[in-house]
Amino acid sequence: MIQRLSLASRLALLFAACTAVVSLLAGVLFNHASEAHFIELDQQQLDSRLVTLRNTLQGVDSPQAFARREPQLRADLNHQPDLTLRITTAGQRWLDQAPGVALPEAPGLHSLQQAGTAYRVYNAPLSPGQPGSAQLTLILDITHHQHFLQRMQRLIWLTVGLSALATALLGAWAARSGLRPLRRMGEVAAGVSAHSLTQRLPQHQMPAELAELAQTFNAMLGRLDDAFKRLSAFSADIAHELRTPLSNLLTQTQVILTQPRPLEDYREALHSNLEELQWMAQLVNDMLYLAKADHGLLNPKREPLALADEVEALLEFFALLAEDAQVSLVCEGRAHTPGDRGMLRRALSNLLENALRFTPAGGEVRVRLADDERGVKLTVENTGEGISKDALPKLFDRFYRADPARREGSSEHAGLGLAITQSIVRAHGGRIYCESEAGWTRFVIELPKGD
């Protein structure tokens, strides 16, 4: 129930509760203070009246003496309608105007409530310091104080209620306007679909608390947009890549079949078809491999590998190709890491092949291995023209070829090699990037240190 309340209502209710508690506390304190103040006033009043009474009754120590003073006393008391008096001595009552109430007998000030009327009762001896002195009991009617206090309390409750209501309403309004950026965020999120991944939250207009969220949200949208574009481009590229060999196959087969030919021509056509088909099969296998990587299904083994040995084996494999291209192959350094031999060999072979392809005769391909506490660093560096700055970030994209001339109808490379290398490196928890300047290009693989 509570969880379903909107943020705005929740805030409004909390504001209201806070105001109610605060004004209630203030009211209770004020009430106490007024009561204490009234007690003090009454005490002063009773003290001064006691002084007057003591003056009037000075020297009275017997009923006879009292009888003589009684008329003056009554005249005094008549001027004070709110005061009644009882005079007691040794169990006798000289005067008793007290209402039918059981009065406290202890000396000092007491409060009393009787039949809708409130009293202050004050017990004091007539002649202080004399043992056996008559006891005065002053009874002051304080009903008007009590009325004032009750009005006061009603006012306090009213204030508590009204201020709570007012803060609830104001709070609701404040919360709604305060949360407006959040609603706007929601609207943008709701507007996101496969067709409109371009919308972004206006970050600079966001309050500080939401700016970070907006930034994260925008970054997520950016990644989604990017991934989606790549995916769309990937599908388009697959279709495009397959179109060339398919149209070759179709044309060639149809042409061959249009008229009778010598056996050798058929054989030649089939061989040629076979080459196209093998290229397509390789492409499909590479794409399946990448799809597997995308689904997190490349689970590399973690066998301890001496990378220098693996690189040596690969350089031996590539030695003939390098010799043909008059490029020297060098490996330096050593490093150990747990990994999957087959996968890492495949990843490296793609890099080496790539490097060899772009190294001019007389150049060099150098593999460097380095090992430190953070991890393993493997670089494949080749001399040559270098790769343009624009091309660097796209190198690992599927079907990307730095050299557009190779694009059409090239029978060897589908442009998936570096994408596969990247997938393998990532499956090992590492990363790969490329640096290039005029004269050299360097691919760097960083693998984390194994457990």
């Binding site: 061989h271 040629s272 076979l274 080459e275 088909l277 093998q278 099969a281 390789q282 499909v284 296998n285 590479d286 399946l288 491999y289 597997k292 299904l297 490349l298 689970n299 084996a313 690969l314 031996e316 494999f317 590539f318 003939l320 190709l321 043909d324 087959g342 060999r345 495949r346 072979s349 092949e353 060897e412 490379h413």
Partner: protein, 226 residues
């Protein structure tokens, strides 16, 4: 050598059968798992080629039935799915090899021959020979028509492979795997370069060529009528 193919796709099955028959094997083809299992258990085959997805009983079930009946002929799986779990599952059940579609027929043929050879422990050769080409495994020397030919270690391994499997078309991937221990699909032309170099030493000076390229399939070492 008698092979059983259980494959439900008619075209694939037909071509596999034809290809294997022309390579000299006696083959039988069935298209569903139930009769496949029955034949596998009763037919006394030297090797089984099983598709994983089959009507009736799937390839795994047939393999299980075969192994629990105590038969130990090699089993080669064909599958369209390249899931790692499938591969692990198959190997756990006792499959001997595994090919993912699309595959090249030359690859299949090479694997079938490897599997069949694995069982028979041929006496260790000391010499390999084809026509006037002779390879001495112990002294690691190669001669043709009595002339000594100097080969690098890798060239020697390559020629040894070609000679041991003479008459078979060896796909590039198999050569890369056997000679350089590179077990991944690579579209490099390293093998072409290696073969070209080997030819230069072994074939170029002689009128009858022994190393032949089969376009789109691989390389074969054999004597061809000139």
């Amino acid at each position: 050598m008698k092979l059983l193919i259980v494959e439900d796709q008619p075209k694939t099955g037909h071509y596999l059968r034809q290809g294997l028959a022309e390579a000299g094997f006696t083959t039988e083809l069935v298209a569903d798992g139930t009769s496949g299992q029955h034949l596998a258990l009763t037919g006394d085959y030297d090797l089984l080629i099983l598709d994983v997805m089959l009507p009736g009983r799937d390839g795994w079930q047939i393999l299980q039935a075969v192994r629990s009946a105590g038969l130990d002929m090699p089993v080669l799986f064909l599958t369209a799915r390249d899931a790692v779990e499938d591969r692990v599952h198959g190997l756990e059940l006792g499959a001997d090899d595994y090919l993912v579609k699309p595959f090249a027929f030359s690859e299949l043929l090479a694997r079938v021959r490897s599997l069949l050879r694995r069982g028979s422990s041929a006496p260790q050769d000391t010499h390999l020979q084809l026509a006037d080409l002779r390879l001495d495994l112990i002294r690691r020397r190669v001669e043709r028509s009595g002339q000594r030919i100097d080969l690098t270690a890798k060239e020697f391994s390559l020629l040894e492979l070609l000679l041991r499997r003479q008459g078979e078309v060896l796909p590039k991937s198999l050569i890369a795997s056997q000679v350089w221990d590179m077990n991944f699909d690579s579209d490099t032309n390293i093998i072409e370069v290696a073969i070209r170099r080997l030819r230069l030493k072994v074939d170029d000076a002689f009128p009858n060529k022994l190393i032949h390229t089969v376009r789109g399939m691989g390389y074969v070492l054999e004597e061809r009528p000139t």
